[in-house]
C-alpha cells in the first residue's frame, strides 16, 4: 500500500489555492500516475493508450470460474447502456443514457450514493439521436467529473459534491448535433467530439480548458486548412505533405459544410509524443452519388498536437465512403516489434473490416488485414497508397442510386463498432469484440434540411450467407494481421473487452452474459447472465484488498435499437432489427451495473 491513497489524491486536486500552472501540472501528473495504478479505473478505456488492460491478477484463469455477484446497482434508465463506471480511490462514478444521470458511489460504504446529478435537457434531443440515446461515459481530471450530455453540453462537476463547476454548450442540437462520446482529459484540457452524421453535422473535436470551460482549440473534420488545423507543408498523409486545401478539393462546392465526419468514438493520447488520436465518421449523406470526391477528412485517423490541435499526420481509410463505414473506433497504442523492429504502434479495428497497424509517430501504414474473413467490399489495402482495392459488385456507387446492392460484408454496423477492444502486453494480443453481419444497401436522393435526418439509403442486415451467427470474439496479432482464435457468438459482441494480468479476458454479450475466457486459448472459463443485454464495457478495480469486475448491462444502442424500441419483428433501426429480432427472446430492457468478486 505504498501508493498515493485516493483521499490524498483528492486533497491534492482540491487544494484550490494552487496557481493555474501548478493545477495544470498536477492534473496531468495525477492522471499519468493513476492510470498506472491497477486498483483504480480512471478513464473509460483504462489508460491513455486505450489498452483496457489491468495489472490485477487476484482473479485469474484458475479461479475465475468461482466468481460471484458481489453487488448490483440500478440506473433507473431503460435505454442502451454503453461505456462503464470509473473508479477513483474509494469513489465509483456511474453514468446512464439520456437523461444522462451520473451517480457517485462510495465503495467504502457499500456503494452508498454520495451524490446524483441529473441534467435538465430538452427532450427534443431524443428524436435526433440516430441510434438510441446512448452515452459512453464520464471522464475525471483535477477533482472534476466531466459529463458530455446528449444535448452537446459539456459539464464539469465537483467530484466530491456533484455540484456544477462550469458548463459549455458545444454544439446545436436543433441542427441534429448531439453528444454521445466520453471526454478525454489531457494535461489542462478536456476534449470532446460530436455526433450527428445522420443529420449532416460537420465533425469537430474541441479542447476546453479544464479550469474555466473556455475553448482552447477546435478542429473540424472538413473545410479550409485553418479550420481543420492542417498545415499543408507539415501535416503528412502516409509520409507526404497533404498540400493546400486538401479537404476542400475533395468536395463539390459547399457540400463539406454538411459533410459529416463526426467524431463520436474514442480518443487516445501519447504523453511522450504529445499526440491525441481519434477517427472521424461517415460523410453525409449515405447516398454516395450525391457527394462526388474523396470527402476528406471523413473516415480518417487524426494524430493531433494536444496543445494546439494541429494535425501531425492523418490517414483516410475509406475515401468516398459507400457503406457508412465510420472510422471512429478506438485507437489502441502499443509498443511491439514489427518485422523485427521495435515500433510505437497505433492499432485500429475499423468499421470497414480491416485491422490497421500504423506507426503512431509518423503515420506509416504497416499492416492492414481483414479481421473478419467475411469482409468482401475490398480485396486488400495497398500499404503504399493506403487505398482499398474495391470490388465493383459491392460498390453502391458503381451500382448507382435506386439500385439495391446485396450481400455487402460488413454491414453498416461495421465488422466492429464503438465497442472497444483490449490489448494485453502480457500476451501481445488484441481482444476484439466483432460483428459478423452483411447487408443490402439501396441509396437514393435526399435533400438537406437543418435538424432533419439526412440518410439517403435503406438497409437490411443479416448474417453472412450460409451462416447463423452475428458475432465473433477474436484474438488478433496486430504485428502480422492474423486472427489467433475466434469464438462465434449468436449476436454481435457489442461490449468493450477487458484483459488482465490474471490471463483472463472478459466481455459481455447482447443476450446479457458476462463471459471470461482464457487469454491464450479463448477457452470459456466463466459466464453469468446479467439482468439485460450488455453493450457496456467491462472494468476492473481493487478495493480493500479485493479485485472486482464491473459491467453495465442494459440492451440498446444500434444493435439493440429494435429491442430498445420494443420491436419484435424484422428490419428497422437503420436496418439492424432484422438481424437482431431473435434477441427479444433472450433479454429485456433495463440499466443495471453488476459487480463480481471471488467468494471469501
Amino acid at each position: 500500500m505504498a501508493r498515493l491513497t485516493p483521499v490524498s489524491g483528492f486533497v491534492l486536486a482540491f487544494a484550490g489555492t494552487m496557481g493555474l500552472w501548478a493545477t495544470q501540472a498536477a492534473a496531468n501528473d495525477e492522471l499519468l500516475k493513476i492510470q498506472d495504478d491497477p486498483k483504480q479505473w480512471v478513464m473509460p478505456l483504462g489508460n491513455y493508450s486505450s489498452n483496457r488492460y489491468s495489472g490485477l491478477d487476484q482473479i485469474n484463469r484458475d479461479n475465475v470460474g468461482d466468481l460471484q455477484v458481489a453487488w448490483t446497482f440500478s440506473t433507473g434508465v431503460l435505454r442502451g447502456h454503453e461505456g462503464g463506471p470509473l473508479v477513483i480511490g474509494n469513489m465509483m462514478y456511474v453514468h446512464a443514457p439520456f437523461p444522462n444521470t451520473v451517480f457517485a458511489l462510495d465503495l467504502s460504504k457499500g456503494g452508498q450514493i454520495v451524490w446524483k446529478y441529473e441534467p435538465q435537457q430538452d427532450p427534443n434531443v431524443i428524436p435526433v439521436m440516430c441510434c438510441d440515446t446512448v452515452n459512453r461515459g464520464v471522464a475525471y481530471g483535477d477533482g472534476k467529473i466531466f459529463l458530455h450530455q446528449a444535448d452537446t453540453k459539456l459539464v464539469a462537476l465537483d467530484a466530491k459534491t456533484g455540484k456544477e463547476v462550469w458548463s459549455a454548450m458545444d454544439g446545436d442540437a436543433t441542427k441534429g448535433e448531439t453528444g454521445t462520446s466520453a471526454p478525454l482529459v489531457v494535461k489542462d484540457k478536456v476534449l470532446i467530439g460530436n455526433s450527428g452524421g445522420e443529420f449532416g453535422v460537420l465533425g469537430k473535436v474541441t479542447a476546453y480548458n479544464m479550469s474555466d470551460g473556455k475553448i482552447a482549440w477546435r478542429a473540424f473534420s472538413a473545410g479550409p486548412d485553418d479550420q481543420i488545423k492542417v498545415d499543408p507543408e507539415k501535416t503528412t498523409a502516409l509520409g507526404k505533405p497533404v498540400g493546400k486545401d486538401s479537404s476542400l478539393k475533395t468536395w463539390e462546392g459547399d457540400q463539406w459544410k454538411i459533410g459529416g465526419g463526426t467524431t463520436w468514438g474514442w480518443m487516445s493520447y501519447d504523453p511522450e509524443l504529445n499526440l491525441v488520436y481519434y477517427g472521424t465518421g461517415n460523410p453525409s449523406t449515405w447516398n454516395p452519388a450525391q457527394r462526388p470526391g474523396d470527402n476528406k477528412y471523413s473516415m480518417t485517423i487524426f494524430a493531433r498536437d494536444a496543445d494546439t490541435g494541429m494535425a501531425k499526420w492523418l490517414y483516410q481509410m475509406t475515401p468516398h465512403d459507400e457503406w457508412d463505414y465510420d472510422g471512429v473506433n478506438e485507437m489502441i497504442l502499443a509498443d511491439q516489434q514489427v518485422n523485427g523492429q521495435d515500433r510505437k504502434l497505433l492499432v485500429h479495428f475499423d468499421r470497414n473490416g480491416f485491422g490497421y497497424t500504423l506507426d503512431r509517430d509518423t503515420g506509416e501504414l504497416l499492416v492492414a488485414e481483414k479481421y473478419d474473413p467475411a469482409v468482401n467490399w475490398a480485396t486488400k489495402i495497398d500499404l503504399k497508397t493506403g487505398l482499398p482495392d474495391r470490388v465493383k459488385e459491392f460498390s453502391t456507387e458503381a451500382n448507382g442510386e435506386d439500385v439495391n446492392t446485396t450481400n455487402i460484408c460488413p454491414a453498416a454496423l461495421g465488422s466492429k463498432d464503438q465497442q472497444p477492444s483490449a490489448y494485453s502486453p502480457k500476451t501481445g494480443l488484441f481482444y476484439v469484440p466483432t460483428n459478423h453481419v452483411c447487408m443490402d444497401y439501396e441509396p437514393f436522393k435526399v435533400a438537406y434540411t437543418a435538424g432533419q435526418p439526412y440518410v439517403g439509403a435503406t438497409l437490411s442486415m443479416y448474417p453472412p450467407k450460409g451462416e447463423d451467427h452475428l458475432g465473433n470474439f477474436i484474438a488478433w496479432d496486430a504485428t502480422t494481421g492474423k486472427i489467433k482464435w475466434s469464438l462465434p457468438e449468436p449476436f454481435s459482441v457489442w461490449s468493450g473487452a477487458l484483459a488482465t494480468a490474471g490471463d483472463v479476458v472478459f466481455y459481455g454479450t447482447l443476450e446479457g452474459y458476462l463471459k471470461a475466457v482464457d487469454a491464450e486459448t479463448g477457452k470459456e472459463l466463466y459466464r453469468f447472465k446479467t439482468p439485460s443485454g450488455i453493450i457496456g464495457n467491462v472494468n476492473t478495480y481493487e478495493y480493500d484488498g479485493k479485485q472486482y469486475i464491473a459491467v453495465l448491462s442494459g440492451v440498446g444502442g444500434w444493435a439493440g435499437i429494435g429491442m430498445a424500441a420494443g420491436l419484435t419483428e424484422d428490419t428497422a433501426g437503420l436496418g439492424a432489427v432484422g438481424a437482431y429480432k431473435a434477441l427479444s427472446s433472450y433479454t429485456a430492457l433495463g440499466g443495471t451495473m453488476t459487480v463480481f468478486a471471488l467468494p471469501e
Partner: protein
C-alpha cells in the same frame, strides 16, 4: 446554392400541400385507396417510394413497416382511423406528448423535403400496409419510375 434550393423547396411544399407529387385524381378515391398493387404483387412506384422513405426516416420510431414500437404508435393501426388531412397535419406540424409519465415527440417534418416531397408516397405505402395489401418488408416487385413522377420529384427536391 442552398438558399436557391430552399426557396424552390418552399414552393414545392406549397404545391405538395395542395396535393401534387403524386398526380391527384379525385381526392376522395385516392385517399381511400391511394395505391395500386397488381395481382402478382407488383406495387406501383409511389408505394415503393413510400416504403423507402418510410424505412429511412420514420422507422426508427414507428418501427419497421409501420408496426410500431415503444417510441411511437403502430401506423398500420393509426391509418385505419386517420383521414388524409389528419395524417398531413401530424406529419407537417408534429405533435408533442410530454409530461412526467411520457416523453413522446413526433417531430415536425413540414420543412423536410425528404418527407414532404414524398408525403403522398408514404401515405400510399402506409395505407396499403394498413389495408393489408402490402406485406412486411421490401416489396419484391415494383413498377418502373414514371417519367412524370421523376419530373415532379426533381422539381420538389430542387435537384
Amino acid at each position: 446554392m442552398r438558399s436557391a434550393c430552399r426557396s424552390l423547396f418552399f414552393l414545392a411544399v406549397a404545391v405538395t400541400l395542395a396535393g401534387s407529387v403524386q398526380a391527384q385524381e379525385t381526392a376522395s378515391t385516392t385517399e381511400e385507396k391511394p395505391y395500386h398493387v397488381a395481382e402478382d404483387g407488383t406495387v406501383s412506384w409511389p408505394v415503393f417510394s413510400g416504403f423507402r422513405r418510410y424505412n429511412s426516416v420514420c422507422h426508427t420510431c414507428h418501427g419497421p413497416d409501420g408496426v410500431g414500437s415503444t417510441f411511437a404508435p403502430a401506423l398500420v393501426d393509426s391509418m385505419k382511423r386517420l383521414s388524409y388531412e389528419q395524417y398531413m397535419d401530424v406529419v407537417v406540424n408534429g405533435r408533442k406528448n410530454v409530461n412526467t409519465a411520457v416523453q413522446r415527440t413526433m417531430p415536425s417534418f413540414g420543412l423536410d423535403p425528404n418527407v414532404m416531397c414524398y408525403i403522398d408516397d408514404i401515405y400510399a405505402y402506409l395505407k396499403a400496409r394498413s389495408d393489408g395489401v402490402v406485406p412486411r418488408g421490401r416489396p419484391a416487385k415494383k413498377e418502373d419510375k414514371p417519367a412524370e413522377w421523376a419530373e415532379a420529384e426533381a422539381a420538389c427536391m430542387g435537384l
